[in-house]
């Protein structure tokens, strides 16, 4: 792999940029692999990368039915934060945030991680109490999170309307300064390039249609639209389609697939310095480096695989955005899309062994999987390599729905998170 650097860029600039190689290779699949990862999003590609880098397992293939990062990795609003309430969540998301901080250097690929701060608006006494509880829990656990008065919030994010007569008055905000955004496509591409460089096969346009099992129930490989591919271990990281893939091995997972929508505006000059979320009126907004306002809307109420959603969901969010930031009322929206999120009953992820030997699952990231990408991938690789979870992911088992040891971030976040 050719190292990306300012010198490489300068050299290519003098040669009309004719010397760049493909970022990853696209080989024909082998007849079998040590590990097959199902799903070529950030989580799956990252897991393949960490398997090769940290566990020395390089005979790995990532199978993707569409194109890399074409699912939820390329459809989210790129928010990164770790200010969750429960220890299991804080462990995972803080591990992830620490990896985000060094990810561009690690991958030699600019993922444009930008710790511009994530501000969560409080609109009422309940919000204030809930956020202060989060702040205290986070700080006791060594995670930054601070309380802002409305004036401090306005100073941090000048477009915010904090007037007493606002439709949704603000009585404060929680701010995680290390939170921010990253370029989502670059995360998938960066992991793909680094994994490919270590010998991982990245195989696109290959859909898994079945999981084959041996006489003792263990996995032996996958059926695909390009034929059978053998595998000693299979890691399923298929987001909204995880339950469909797991069903192929006869394993039921407690997931509901719901559309989640996002939209972007026409590009504007730099005007919005941070990420703002309001759970209560349901709006999140940031500005991409291209200048588009990136706005996250809500989930539809019903199960669906349609990758679209109802227009009333978007208008509800835009109503709130226009009240919070009156200056955006005449901005034109440019594109809108949906992704299929896999939601668990307690809104916490599942990263677990399964009743089928050799089959591992990483799913249930729901509406908040992007921020977890490096941490989840890193710990999923550990799970696949060792056959047991890393201590930072020990609570995210499939078994918790039997034992009742839930991690109820659904109640903690009140909305999609």
């Amino acid at each position: 792999m050719r190292k990306y650097s300012v010198f490489a860029l300068a050299r290519e600039a003098l040669r009309a940029h004719k010397g760049w190689d493909a970022q990853w290779s696209s080989p024909e699949p082998r007849s079998s692999y040590d590990v097959i990862i199902v799903g070529g999003g950030g989580h799956g590609l990252g897991a393949a990368y960490y398997l090769a880098k940290e566990h020395g397992i390089t005979n790995v293939a990532v199978l993707e039915k569409g194109w890399l990062g074409g699912g939820n990795t390329g459809r989210n609003t790129t928010i990164i934060r770790s200010n969750y309430l429960y220890e299991e969540s804080m462990d995972m998301y803080e591990h992830s945030l620490k990896l985000w901080e060094g990810l561009s250097q690690d991958l030699n690929y600019n993922v444009m991680y930008s710790p511009r701060g994530v501000m969560m608006l409080s609109h009422n006494t309940h919000d204030m109490q809930s956020f202060k509880r989060h702040i205290n829990a986070n700080r006791l656990y060594g995670i930054d999170n601070e309380w802002l008065t409305p004036e401090q919030a306005k100073a941090y994010c000048p477009p915010l309307d904090i007037s007493k007569t606002a439709r949704y008055p603000i009585n404060g905000a929680a701010l995680q300064k290390r939170g921010g955004t990253a370029r989502h496509d670059a995360v998938a591409w960066g992991y793909a390039r680094a994994a490919s460089d270590r010998g991982v096969h990245i195989i696109q346009n290959t859909e898994v249609t079945g999981i084959r099992r041996g006489p003792d129930g263990e996995v032996t490989g996958v059926e695909t639209n390009r034929g059978f591919i053998g595998a000693k271990k299979i890691g399923v990281s298929a987001a909204g389609h995880s339950s469909v893939v797991m069903e192929m091995a006869g394993v039921r997972v407690p997931l509901a697939s719901n559309p989640l929508q996002a939209l972007v505006s026409e590009p504007l000059k730099p005007i919005f310095p941070c990420v703002v979320m309001s759970n209560t009126v349901h709006a999140y907004i940031s500005q991409s480096d291209k200048g588009e306002l990136v706005i996250g809307a809500g989930t539809d109420q019903y199960n669906s695989y349609s990758q679209t959603g109802g227009l009333q969901i978007i208008t509800h969010t835009l109503d709130a955005i226009c009240e919070l930031f009156p200056m955006f009322r005449r901005v034109k929206m440019m594109r809108q899309w949906g992704g299929i999120t896999d939601n668990t009953p307690d809104r916490s992820a599942i990263q677990s062994v399964t009743p089928v030997p050799g089959l591992f699952v990483n799913c249930g990231w729901g509406t908040g999987g992007f921020k977890a990408t490096p941490g989840s991938a890193n710990l999923f690789a550990h799970l696949i390599a060792k056959g047991e979870p890393h201590k930072l992911a020990a609570g995210l088992t499939l078994d918790r729905f039997r034992t009742g040891r839930l991690i109820d971030e659904a109640a903690a976040a009140a909305v999609a998170h």
């Binding site: 339950s243 019903y302 669906s304 695989y305 349609s306 679209t308 109802g310 729905f401 039997r402």
Partner: protein, 113 residues
């Protein structure tokens, strides 16, 4: 936004009047205190989450207020049938639960590429 036929009001109304209420035809175990943890997890948490034909409950919460059942395709979001609560699960004419739906994004967007 979906247009939903309420079998009680016998009218097509906007989705805004309705609340989705989960998978249909799930029977609460009779002696729920006696079942094992596995059986409870199965009853309480595990759902089919079908890609394709699904049976689900809806409630006409801003109308008659009643629960009813619906058969819907989760790929196209098309309602195939609605029927009153308490009636048994009914097959949808011309659609089998195992039939593969073709309107997936992979097939449309994938081909376009």
């Amino acid at each position: 936004m979906l247009l939903i036929h309420c079998p009680y009001c016998e009218e097509d109304r906007s989705e805004l009047e309705f609340r989705w209420a989960g998978e249909a035809h799930i029977a609460r175990p009779d002696a729920i205190a006696d079942i094992t943890d596995e059986e409870f997890a199965e009853y309480f948490f595990l759902r089919n989450n079908e890609k394709g034909l699904t049976y689900e409950r809806w409630r006409h919460i801003h109308g008659c207020g009643r629960f009813f059942n619906a058969a819907r395709d989760t790929v196209s979001d098309r309602f195939l049938m609605t029927y009153k609560a308490g009636l048994p699960k009914r097959p949808v004419p011309g659609v089998s639960a195992t039939e593969k739906t073709v309107e997936t994004y992979e097939q449309t967007e994938g081909d376009a590429r």
